[in-house]
Amino acid sequence: MRPSFASLFFIIILPLLIGLAFFTVQFKTDMSAFLITGENAEEILLASEIQSGTLSRRYILSIDAGQNQVVAPRFIETWLAKIKTIPEVNSLWRANEQKNTLKSLSTLYTKHATQLYSREPEKTLAQIFTQSALSQRAEALKQALLSPQASVIKKIAVQDPLLLSLNGFKSFADQFKKTALQQTGQYANFILVTDPSGMDIEKQRIIQAEIKRYFSENTKNLAYTLEMTGVPIFAAATQTMIQTDIQQVSLLSTIALILLFLVLFRSFKVLFWVSSLLLFVISVALLTTQLIFGSVHGMTIAIGSTLIGICIDYPIHAIVHAQGSEPQHRLQSIKTIFPSLAMGALTTLIGYIALGISGYPGFQQVAIYASTGIISSLLLTRYLFPYLITGKVKKVNTFKFIIIWSKFCQSFRPYLVAVVILLSAFSVIKLDNLQWMQDLQQLTPELDYLKLNDKKIRERLVSMEPGRFILVSGKTPELALQYSEQLYPLLEHLKQSKALDDYFGLYPWILSQQQQQKNQAFLAKSLTAEHQIHWQAALKQQKLSVKRLGDLDRYSHSVKTLTPQEILSSPIAPLINNQLIINAQQTLLIIWLGKHNPEALKLALKDREHIQYFSQRDLLNRMAIDYQNQAEITLLSGLALILCLLSWRYKSILLAIKTLSPAVISALLILALWASTGEAISFLHLVGFLLAVAICVDYGIFYQENRSGNISLTYQAMAASMLTSALVFGCLLIAQTSTLQTLAKVVTLGIILGFLLCPILIKPRPFIKP
C-alpha cells in the first residue's frame, strides 16, 4: 500500500468514524450507577428505584422568608400556579397539605371504614363499644359537625356515623399538626414530582431553571430565598461536575501534549498523524462501549481520557525508533520493536481486564473502553502508522536529564540498588500504618454542600431520617403488607422505650387484605343490639338525627377490600408512592423512621425474615470494605498474571521479576509515602496502582528487551512515553471530582517512579531474541 493510499484511507475513514461516534453514542452521568450496587435483590431494586423510579423524580422545595418573617400566602399561590404550568411537572403540593387527605377520607376511606379502622381490632372495639365510650363518640360527632371541618364530616358521618374511618388517622393528624406548626411562619415547603426520571439531566435542568425563573420573577421586592433538594439536584450537580472535568482535563491535556510533541519531535506533521490516530482510537473505543453497554458513562470518558496517555506510547516508540531511520527502513524498525510493544500492550490490557472483572459496576465499561483503545492503537501503529511517517530523517530531541540519569544509574548501580532495597524494606514495615477509608461518602467531598443543604431542608419537614429506614420485602404487595403489620407492635414498643421517636408506615392508608377482612369480621361479630340501643340513646342526648345516624347494621355488611393499586390510582398516591415499590418479582415497602438509636433498631430487627434495617451510610461503608478487599485481590491477581506472562516469555522467573520490579517497587514506595502522611486510602487508590503497574511494566519490558539494541534510544522513547502518560494523568489533578484526583496522584507518581527505577533495577543488555 503506498503512503498516499494509507493517508487517503485514513483521512476518509476518520471523519466518518468521529461522526458516527458523535451522533450515535448515548452518555450517562449517574454516579450511583457507576459506583454503587446492592448486595441482595432488595438493595438492587431499591438502588434502581433511587436511580430512575418514583424516588428519583421528587424535589423538596423550601422557601425561606427570613427570620421573624412569614411567607405570604398570596405569593405562594401565584408562584405555585406558575410552577404547575412547567411542562413535565407532574404534581406539586405543600408538604402539610391536607386537602387531598380530607377529600380521600370522604370519597375513598369512608366505604372501607369497617376494614381500616384499626391494626388491633380487638383492643379498639373493646374501647369503643362501651356505653360511656359511645356517649363520648356521639358528643365528638356533634362537635365535629359544628366545627370548621363540618363539610367533610357530614359526608363521612352519613356513611360512617361512628367515624371509624377517622380512627386510624388520629396519629396521622398529630403528625400533620406538627408540620402545620412548622409551616406557619418562616418556611413554606413543597413536594414536586416530575414526569421524567431524576437521571434525565437535560430535562431536569430545564425544570430547575424554570422553577428558579418563576421564583425570581415573583420575588423582586421580597427577600425570600429558594432552596431545593432531591435526587435530580444531586444528579445535575454531578453531571455538571463531570462535564466540566472532561472539558477542562481534555483541553489541558491536549494543549500539554501538543506542546510536548512539538518540543520532542519538532514536526506538525507527526503531531497531526498522532492526533488523528488517537481520535480514531477514541472513536472506536466509544463505539465499542456503546455497542456492548448501550451507553457510555461520563466517568468512563473521564477515566478513559487517560487512555490517550497509554495509547500514545505505541506511536511514540514507533516515531522515536523510526524517525531516525531512512523512510525505506522505517517499517523494519517498527517491525523490530513491535513484539515489545505487543507485550507491553498485553500487560496493560491485563491491568484493565482485572479491573473489569473486579465487580465495580462502572469499571467494566472502563475496561472495555481502554482495551479496545489499546488494541486499536497497537494495530494502527504496526500496520498503518509506518506509511504515514513519510518525512525526512530527524533526530528526536533528547532531555539532558535522561542522559545524565541513565549514566548516573549505570555508574552507581550497586549503591542505588542497595538504597532501593533499604527503602523497600522500610516501606514494607510502614505498610502497617496504612489507613483505609471506611466511609464511602468521603469519596465525594465535593458534594458535601448538597448533603448539608439536603439535611437543612429536611429538618424543616416532619423529622424523618432520609438515609435510614426499614425495608420490608415480599413476593407480593399483600405479603409485604402482612410482614410490615407484624412489625408495628415492635415499633410501638421501641417508641415507648424511647429508642425511636416516630415511624411512618403505610397505615392508615392501607392494610393487608388479611387484616382488612379480619377487621370486618371482628366488627360484625362485636356489634350487638345493645350497642345499637346505647348509640341511639347517645345520639338523642346530643340532639343528633337517629334516623340518619342511628343504624349501625350498615357495619355488618361485607365490602370489597381496598387494594394498594386503588390507593396508587387515587389523589393520595403522591403521599405514599415513595414508600411502596411494586414490580413483577417483588414488592418493597419502606417504613420511614424519625430520630432513633440505630443499634437498638438493628438488634430488634435482627433475624427477622423479609425485614431489613437499611442505612445508606452503612451500605456505603460496607461497600467501601468490600471494594477494598476486592481491589487487593484484583491487584495481586493482576500482578500474578503479568508475572506468569513474563516468565513464559523470558523462560525465566528471575528475569520476569526483574522486569516487574520497577513497577512493584514504585507502588510500594508510594504506599509507604501515604502511610507516613496518614492519608486515608480507598479502593480507588488500589485501582490507580493497578493502572500504574500495568503501565510501568511496559517500561520494564522495553528496557529489558532493548529491541533496538540502543539503550539510550530505548530510554529516550520510554521518557517520551512516560512524559505523555504523566502529563495526561497529571491533568486529572485539576478535576473537581475527587475520584479523578486520586487516580491522578497515584498513577502519575507511580509511572514517574517506575521510569526512574528502570535503569537502577534492570541492567541494560544488548538486544535479546526470546
Binding site: 400566602p73 399561590e77 400556579a81 359537625l145 359544628l146 366545627s147 363540618a150 363539610s151 338525627s545
Partner: protein, 228 residues
C-alpha cells in the same frame, strides 16, 4: 394547569358552612351593613360601596343552624367585633365559648372547653377560607371582585331590602351557596341567611350595631389569642 387567583380561592363548593368562616362572614357583613342608607333607592354597587367600615363595630348575634343530621335546631349566641382595617373577631358565648379572629393574614381559633387552639396563615389556597377572602373584599367595598364568584342582586320593598349573593360555577353535583342579607329600609342589616349546597341552613339574627373608636374587650380577647 394555571389557576387564576379567583379559581384558586374557589375550591369545590365554597364550603361556607364551616363555622369559623361563616362567623367571619357574619362579622363582616353585619359590621358593614349597619351603614347602609337609603337602600330602597340604591344599586348593588352603591350598597356594597357603603359597606366599607371606618370605625370599630360590635354586634350581638343569635345563630341558628338547621342541619339534616341534627334532630333539632341548634342555637348559639355571641358577639361580633370588627376593627378596620383588618381585624375581625367572633366570640361565641353560648352554648360553649369559642373565639375566632382574623388579623391581617393570621387566623386564630380557640375553644377553651377542649383546649383546642389553632393559629395558621390565612391561606387563600385553602377552600375553608374562601368566605374570608370574599368578605375581606366586602370590607374594601369591591363589588367587581365579588362578582367574580357571586351573582349579586338587590330587591327593594317598602318593608325591607334584600341583598342576594349566589355562588357562581358551583360543583355540578350540587347547587351553590346562597346568602341573603336583609334589613329595614335605611337601616342596618338585621338578618343573614345562608343556604348550603346540601340544603342545610344557617341564620343569624343581628342586634343593632354599636360603634366606637375602641373596644377594650376586643383587644383583650385578641391579645389573649395571640399570646396563647
Amino acid at each position: 394547569m394555571a389557576k387564576p387567583f379567583g379559581l384558586m380561592c374557589k375550591k369545590a363548593n365554597f364550603p361556607m358552612y364551616s363555622k369559623k368562616f361563616r362567623s367571619i362572614l357574619l362579622t363582616t357583613l353585619a359590621m358593614i351593613l349597619y351603614s347602609i342608607q337609603l337602600i330602597a333607592s340604591d344599586t348593588v354597587e352603591s350598597v356594597i360601596a357603603r359597606m366599607k367600615t371606618q370605625t370599630a363595630t360590635k354586634i350581638a348575634y343569635t345563630e341558628t343552624r338547621d342541619m339534616g343530621l341534627f334532630s333539632d335546631t341548634w342555637q348559639a349566641t355571641g358577639v361580633l367585633y370588627a376593627q378596620p382595617p383588618n381585624i375581625m373577631l367572633k366570640q361565641q358565648q353560648q352554648p360553649t365559648v369559642e373565639i375566632m379572629a382574623i388579623e391581617a393574614d393570621q387566623l386564630y381559633y380557640h375553644k377553651p372547653a377542649t383546649d383546642t387552639f389553632h393559629q395558621m396563615q390565612f391561606d387563600e389556597n385553602n377552600e375553608m377560607m374562601a368566605s374570608i377572602i370574599i368578605f375581606k373584599g366586602l370590607m374594601t367595598g369591591d363589588s367587581h371582585y365579588l362578582r367574580q364568584f357571586y351573582t349579586l342582586s338587590i330587591k327593594n320593598s317598602a318593608q325591607n331590602w334584600s341583598l342576594l349573593m349566589e355562588e357562581k360555577n358551583p360543583d355540578s353535583e350540587q347547587q351553590g351557596l346562597k346568602i341573603i342579607i336583609q334589613g329595614m329600609p335605611e337601616q342596618a342589616a338585621h338578618s343573614i341567611s345562608i343556604t348550603l349546597p346540601d340544603g342545610d341552613e344557617e341564620s343569624y339574627a343581628l342586634s343593632p350595631p354599636e360603634h366606637n373608636p375602641y373596644f377594650k374587650q376586643l383587644n383583650s380577647l385578641l391579645n389573649a389569642l395571640k399570646s396563647h
